[in-house]
Symmetry: C2
Subunit: 286 residues, 2 copies
């Protein structure tokens, strides 16, 4: 199957799962459930959960074995977006053409919504322990890996440095380090979640982690190019294209794309979708 | 051993563990680690982790078997305090005589610090899986229980209703329901964590949960009496003593204290410290 139809199909599956499994809007306290559904069911690309399902199929297994965990990762990703958009952080009014959570529900509810999404996302991941053929101790490993990828050495630490960038050296290494922690970490966790739940080999896990690290960097560089070209408010915050220009940034993103593809050569032709996804990451226009 | 010296000893143990296990202030990104240590190492009473250790000893086991999880629960408690104190929530400037986190580190860092404390707290709990004699599948159960106690049906949902109390009926049932979710839920989780990790019987677990529910309610009523008497800013927010007066509130707290003690009668004399702790909760003056 071609990547674009594969992604469309898997996006539909994950959207339906989220639609059904998230608390309904009329369930008390209804305001926070409305707020959660507003931010989660918003037409996102679902790249992270799709990656988790792709790993299951790469390993020759049914994607349903990792579906709750995949959905949980999407909730955790949404937690990070809702908190990052807050006035005291990036102060964003719009996300995907819709008002951001705090613009609709207010700051206090946006903070609590993010907290609840993190809690609920981890709960979805734990639910994966109920699936036949999944061992409970692999679920502990998955939870620990995700917590590590979220912690102050990774995603949250990246956000800490990102909001205090005025005090930092703005060179390529520093920016890549932030990209790695803010973006690659959770992408790696998406891949590793599928791999740990379905008992991939150590070599396979390492390959997928390198792949995730590289497409995460490429993804974030392209994201910043798109933001720059759409002329979004970016203050003077240094991003790759702001410092190095669009052309050089695109070159670097393509290098990471190629490194990503090389890193998973051990899977051979079975990894075809992963190669295509790496190309998609650097060629996307929005 | 008498309760007060028991609590002092266990507080020292938990404080030392936190002191040693939290990232050091000079570890990057140092600002968030300074902020975490500021809010955690602040002279708290450590009632929740002490309860977890008390359960271990009640079951005839070494408290060390539950120490990481106990410490994790204290971090999660601290997460809730740091977020609750934010300007857009309860807007508190002081906690235990010290400036609140956001007054020292700013709002953005306080939000990230809370997020990081929740992540780190759950990670501490997962670490408990490494302890000899603790099964990994009981750790999954513990994590799931804590996530349930934090979720929108419990602690976070209680906070949602608490900040939107203007729209609510302010009667005893409603206030008790908020107390139950905001305070009792995590106290129950502290007790149940010890019980699940050390394979208590279903009956024992139920007894401890009832005990936790009741001392949680008593604890929160007394807390509100203390706040009222210290004349803290409480706007017109309805609390038990504001609506029913101090005398009636004290009576209700004592009823809950007695119900708490009755609920654990199956443990007999071995639960002596639990009886004393229930009395301590309603007799404390700060």
């Amino acid at each position: 199957m071609e990547l674009s139809s594969y992604m469309k199909e898997k996006k539909r599956i994950i959207d339906r799962y989220l639609e059904e499994e998230l608390p309904l809007e009329n369930q008390n306290p209804s305001i926070v459930h409305r707020s959660i559904r507003y931010s989660v069911l918003n037409g996102g690309k679902r790249i992270r959960p799709i990656l988790t399902m792709m790993v299951a199929e790469l390993l020759g297994q049914d994607y349903k074995k990792v579906l709750p965990a995949a959905a949980g990762i999407e909730l955790i990703h949404t937690f990070s977006l809702v908190h990052d958009d807050l006035p005291c952080m990036d102060d964003d009014d719009y996300r995907r053409g819709k008002l951001t959570n705090h613009k609709v529900f207010g700051e206090a509810m946006a903070i609590l919504t993010g907290d609840a999404l993190l809690v609920m996302g981890l709960d979805f991941i734990c639910r994966n322990a109920q699936i036949e053929g999944v061992k409970k101790d692999s679920v502990v490993e998955v939870v620990q890996n995700i917590l590590e990828m979220l912690g102050t050495q990774k995603m949250l630490g990246g956000q800490v440095d990102d909001i205090s960038w005025h005090n930092q050296k703005n060179n390529a290494d520093f920016i890549e380090d932030i990209y790695s922690r803010k973006t690659s970490a959770l992408i790696c966790a998406s891949l590793k979640t599928g791999a740990l739940l379905l008992k991939a080999s150590k070599k396979q896990i390492e390959a997928l982690e390198t792949y995730g690290e590289k497409i995460g960097l490429a993804f974030q560089i392209i994201d910043d190019i798109i933001d720059l070209q759409e002329d979004k408010k970016i203050d003077d915050k240094p991003t790759y294209p702001v410092i190095f220009g669009v052309k050089k940034s695109e070159e670097v993103a393509h290098q990471y794309c190629n490194q990503a593809k090389e890193s998973i050569s051990l899977f051979g032709g079975k990894a075809q979708l992963f190669y295509e996804l790496a190309d998609f990451v650097v060629s996307r226009k929005k």
